[in-house]
Structures are given as structure tokens and as C-alpha cells.
Amino acid sequence: MSASRERFGRTDLPEEQQRALRSAVRWEIATLGFTAVSITLVALVVGSSQSMKTAWIEDMLSTLPQIVFLVALPLVRRRATKRHPYGLHRAMGIGHVVAGAALLAVGLILFFESGFGLINAEHPTIGTVSLFGTTVWLGWLMIGVMAIIVIGPFIYGPPKRRAARVLHNKILAADGDMAKADWQTNAASIVGVLGVGMGLWWLDGAAAMFISIGIVLDGFRNSRSALADLMDQRALTYDSSAPHPEISRALSALRALDWVEEAGVRVRDMGQVLHIEVFIVPRDQSAGARRIAEAAERVTGTNWQVQDVVVTLTDEVPGYATTALATGSDPSQTG
């Protein structure tokens, strides 16, 4: 096998992806730092407001994808060995499932907790603190803290989504999406605390339920897409919205070979890179090792994400292999 088909690892990423990866790592670390500060700030004022508590826990949970990404990264960069012939790319997927399940579980707990609080008509108590000789209602401090940290996601959300697209990384995409929802969490807790201040005790629990629904949905979406990838569904784009464009590119690269009668591919997403199995029906029944290597190299050359290609000669392309995608799914594949 040629060396080009064994390039698992960061050193082999193209320039653009290397830049995106460095930027993603920086942003993830910066986010962790920011969240550590905001968790500490909220801890000082959390009091007995359910919506503050829920927003606080959401803050802690929002670090999960970042931690998973940073932990999985060195594993993903390892080369495939005899013991781990597919590399350790699944580390990202496993981390993604764990993070999704944690979100789902905690979101449900918080949802029922705030729901029971509302049913039992628990009136949240928010007292005062003595600040430099003045008595200040703690609610104002809560609102102040939340108003400050609401800014964060607007700063670190967009660059993560950009990096997710360039790197085809679903954890980064999930992280960016969660950041997008983060500000709603903080805004909802401000509404909840303000409601308590106005004597509308139920607004706190209602805000907490709103926040926990967001956490549950995050958890559900993350678990579903991560599990589907671990179950080896056909590779999708980084935001799981369409079949991966690489499928069309590989197919047209194969059809361009004159000895190929018919071609089909089976593509699965290993986390950041793709594993492709190619099925070729040759025109003259004798393809030869050189031609097989050529086909593999053609497919490998179409995209940096293709790091492992296996070519099989067959007399019939199996039904589960993709031989064509609906037109329009990839604009580069019209000719």
C-alpha cells in the first residue's frame, strides 16, 4: 500500500485545516477559561433561584464538548496500528455520545425539578447582601452577573462554527450550536430573577423550565447524531444536513477511469476523517494490482478527509453501496 493511504494524523492536514485546528484548540481553551470565571461568578450569587441554578448547571455542562474535543484530539492524531487498524478516530464519537447523554440526563432532571417546584408553588427566596455598607438585593447582582456573561457566546460561538465546517468536526459544530443557545439561557434567568423581584414567583420556575428544555434538546440532538455515526450511517456533512459531498467526488473520480464499468462506495464518518470502501466492476475482468492502487489514490486525492480507502473488485456493486447521489446535493458534481 502506498504511504498516501496511511496518513492518519494532524501533520498531514492541509494548511487550511491545520490553521482551523489550531484556532479551534485556542477557542476551546479560551472558552473553558471564560466559563470557569462565569461559573465562579454565578456561584457567588446563585442563591435559591431555580432559574439561576439551572443556568449555572447549564454553564457547567456547556464545557463538556470542549473537554471531549481537547481530550479526544491527541487520540485522533495517532496513527493506525496493527492493534488499532482504524486508528483511534472513534474517540471523538464516543466523547460526543457521552456529552450528549450527560446533557440529556441533567436536562431532564432539571426539567422535572423546576416542574415540581412550580406545582408545589415553591416561592424562591432571594435576600440581600451587605456591599460596602449598603444593603443590596441579591437579585440585582444576579442580573448584573448574567448580563455580563451573556456576551461570551457571541464572541466564541461563530469562530467555533467556522472551524467545525473547515475541519468537518461534529463536536465543534455541536459546541458552536450550544453557544448559540447559551445567551438564551442567561437571558431567561434574568427574566426569572426579575420576575421574582416583581413578586411573580412562578416566573423563576418557568424560566428554569425553559432553560432545561434547551438542555434536553441539545442532549437529544447531540446523542442522536453521535449514535448514528457510531452505527456507521452513510457519512453526512458536518451539520448532518445532507450526504457528504465526498461521496459524489469519489464516484466521479472512479468513473473517470476507463477500465471501470460500474462503481459504488460505502463511506462512513470516523469522527473527523472518512473511511471509504470502493466497489468496482471492471470492464475486462482483469484489473491488476496497479489499477487498484490507482483507483484508491484517485479517491484519496479528492479530499483531505479521505484517509483510508479500500478497493474491492466485484462482479456486481452491492445494493447498500452508493452509486449515485440525487443531483443538487453537490454542486461540484454535475459533469
Binding site: 416561592h123 432571594i126 435576600g127 440581600t128 437571558a187 431567561a188 426579575l194 421574582v196 423581584g197 414567583w201
Partner: protein
């Protein structure tokens, strides 16, 4: 769209609060409105060195403090004596505005009553001892009123 909705909600809430001349925090059940200029329903359970049962009214430094607080609101204290748990129950039913006695910040009643910040009484038998008072849970204006009084007295 949701961003705009959130912003509108926040502005409306603040506007509504300011428009009604509402003070924040406000009591959901109006405890402090019923107290100011009227009567302060105080429940107490005797605690040596702090508050002792008397003929008509209790005595002791804690009883004096409550009288002073009622005075600052132009309210007349109306006393009743009971065990601590009965007092918490009465607060929960909104039958009392304030409960005092041997409560500390370790009190286990936090889901049924609101604890003030801890304070110390110089005239108490044990001057280092910290106490708390209890007000109905979620009555945040009442809580703020008591805590502000304690701050002004320099006891916290």
C-alpha cells in the same frame, strides 16, 4: 427573532416595574404591605439569653430588637408563642410575618421559610452567638426589610 423577543420581554418587565412605581423586590403575598403602619405578627419560641416568655409580652434582647424593628415600620408587634416547628408552619401558612427564637443559619427549614442573614446581639448572654430570624419563604421584600434593618443596626 427570539433575540428580539427576549429583549422586548426584558424591557417590558423593567418598564412595567417602573411604571407601576413597584419596588423591587416585591412580596408575592404582600407580607410587608400588611406590616408597614399596621401590625407585625411575631411568633417566638423562648431561648435562654435571647428571648424569654413574659406575662403579656416576651422579654430579652431579641424581643427588644423585634420591638425596635416594628417601631421602625410604624407597626405594632403582636406576639404569639409556640415551638419552632409550629412557628415555621405558621410562616408557611402566612399566619405569621416573622419568627424569632433560637434559630441559627443551620436551621433545617429553608424550603418552608426564608432565613435572614446571621446577626449577633451584644446584649445576649453569649455575645458571640449568631442568630437568624425567619420570614415567610419567597417574601423577598419582607426579607429585604428585616435584613436592611439588621444592617442599619450594625448587627450583621
Amino acid at each position: 427573532m427570539r433575540r428580539i423577543l427576549g429583549a422586548i420581554t426584558a424591557v417590558l418587565l423593567i418598564g412595567a416595574a417602573a411604571g407601576c412605581g413597584m419596588t423591587i423586590p416585591t412580596d408575592p403575598d404582600g407580607t410587608s404591605e400588611g406590616v408597614v403602619g399596621r401590625e407585625l405578627r411575631v411568633g417566638y419560641s423562648p431561648e435562654p439569653g435571647l428571648i424569654a416568655a413574659g406575662g403579656e409580652e416576651p422579654s430579652g434582647p431579641l424581643a427588644d430588637l423585634v420591638r425596635e424593628y416594628a417601631d421602625s415600620l410604624g407597626a405594632e408587634p403582636v406576639w404569639s408563642q409556640a415551638s419552632e416547628e409550629t412557628l415555621v408552619d405558621a410562616l408557611d401558612r402566612r399566619a405569621l410575618d416573622l419568627a424569632v427564637g433560637g434559630f441559627t443559619d443551620k436551621a433545617p427549614w429553608t424550603d418552608r421559610a426564608a432565613l435572614t442573614r446571621p446577626f449577633t446581639l451584644d446584649e445576649a448572654a453569649d455575645a458571640a452567638r449568631t442568630s437568624v430570624m425567619l420570614v415567610p419563604a419567597g417574601e423577598n421584600a419582607m426579607l429585604t426589610s428585616v435584613e436592611s434593618f439588621l444592617d442599619e443596626e450594625g448587627l450583621t
